[in-house]
Symmetry: C2
Subunit: 314 residues, 2 copies
Amino acid sequence: MADDPAALIERALAGERRATAKLLSLVEQGGAPARDVVARLHRLTGSAWSVGITGAPGSGKSTLTDKLVGCMRAESLDVGVLAVDPTSPFSGGAILGDRVRMQEHATDPGVFIRSMATRGHLGGLALATPQAVRVLDAVGKDWIVVETVGVGQVEVEIAGQADTTVVVVNPRWGDAVQAAKAGLMEIADVFVVNKADRPGAAETVADLDGMLELAGEQQWRPPVMCTVATTGEGVSDLWDAIGRHRSFLESSELVTARRHARQASELRAIAAARLQERAAALTCGDRFDALVDDVVARRRDPYGAASVLLDGEP
Amino acid sequence: MADDPAALIERALAGERRATAKLLSLVEQGGAPARDVVARLHRLTGSAWSVGITGAPGSGKSTLTDKLVGCMRAESLDVGVLAVDPTSPFSGGAILGDRVRMQEHATDPGVFIRSMATRGHLGGLALATPQAVRVLDAVGKDWIVVETVGVGQVEVEIAGQADTTVVVVNPRWGDAVQAAKAGLMEIADVFVVNKADRPGAAETVADLDGMLELAGEQQWRPPVMCTVATTGEGVSDLWDAIGRHRSFLESSELVTARRHARQASELRAIAAARLQERAAALTCGDRFDALVDDVVARRRDPYGAASVLLDGEP
């Protein structure tokens, strides 16, 4: 079979983009094929560095990603881009409107761009995204940029899974406060005030600096960068800041602790999704109905019935 | 031990109110003692009829409950009242502010009033409330009124677990629409337009009637009653409507299907809570950390590690 995981992986490793796209579809769809792909790919991973980019819609994340990819390509680095949209039902081959802006890189064989959207399987995008990162890592991407559309709970969770998380805000009164409220202060390794040519940029930088002061002494103090993504201004400084964060993590061995924590969190999510699947399978069908009848007829109490359901006869 | 479940149940069945209160505390706190109490009490249940009363804060539910309890007491029926507040951390002995209005019945030995609030155990009030209903049923209450403070998801779920669910709205433009939005049309067996002496009552009744028309042919068509709880106007008609709903369910055997469905939903919730507890226990500790290390070091893939975690060595 041309589409079996082993063959697909071989073709993807040989540089065939369609095979990589198919592997991404498989891990996105979840289930046994996804697990099979991950089991085969996982040992090939570990050389890529992932950058999460998050911020409110309209803050200019896509343009920033585009320019950042340009910096990476200028150093001949192989790049993967995942545009993650938990609010959209469209995925895969479909190019998001925003992605049109990435067309500069669309024909560059050194850049692989992919949109991911909600497919509704258990765990959803928060579980599927790390698998997509694994695919891109395994097929040889040096850098993987994970861009989320907004700052909802799922998006913050996804962006926080990256090795370096970039939080984008705009020069607007309250934007810094909104960032804090959305839980972005906790996940940010680098702050970007994008559209910094607009009024209020200095105040927003000061607001962020102030909030970072309040956070107290930290091993890594997130820098606050200013960019104008549309013109490219400040983007190479941002790229440098991301590089400094990577060097810091790698030299301090913090990267190990961070990856351990991230892996623990993923393993918890997988275990929870697996148990939910089991609960769903157990709580329908004849055996379940018979237990419900037992409780209604008072032959069993509800907790006793739950024990029988989960563990068999007592 | 005076407080062991068997002794408490004996004393509660003999009419000792403090023992009933203690049993309610035990089931509310959850865990093994709650399961023990429920296992012992369940076979004694089945004779009470439960009435859920829900509606927006300020709609007059407490006063309505008070007057409805008066109707029940006029027929010498034994009554239990559970005032459920998922938004409050206070519970048990503490009488909620609203409950002061119930003081007419506070010294009546035929009425047992109890406030329940969130204790934070898994499944929360949605799981604890049916257990509290079981306690009151087992100790001989003929009618159990479950009043919720608002129309949040948990409250709608709790009110919908009753044998007869009463939804309270006020004469205000849009109240009927809000009720529909909150999912109250689905759970209502009886609608009450309370404060019906205020302008707009007829329109609200018409709105509700219109929405019930749209719902199409049903075996039971929820009546829309008008009350002025503060004066007691219309409350005996409401009490009659509740009685008609009970007679309808009992004569049509629908009560069996309804209790089966309710029991199925409770059993699903108990199973889900139990599996969540297991997931929490499994995803910490040395064994879990070792598996995470294995994944980070690429000795195992994440799905494989999850299988080992949940099912032991493959």
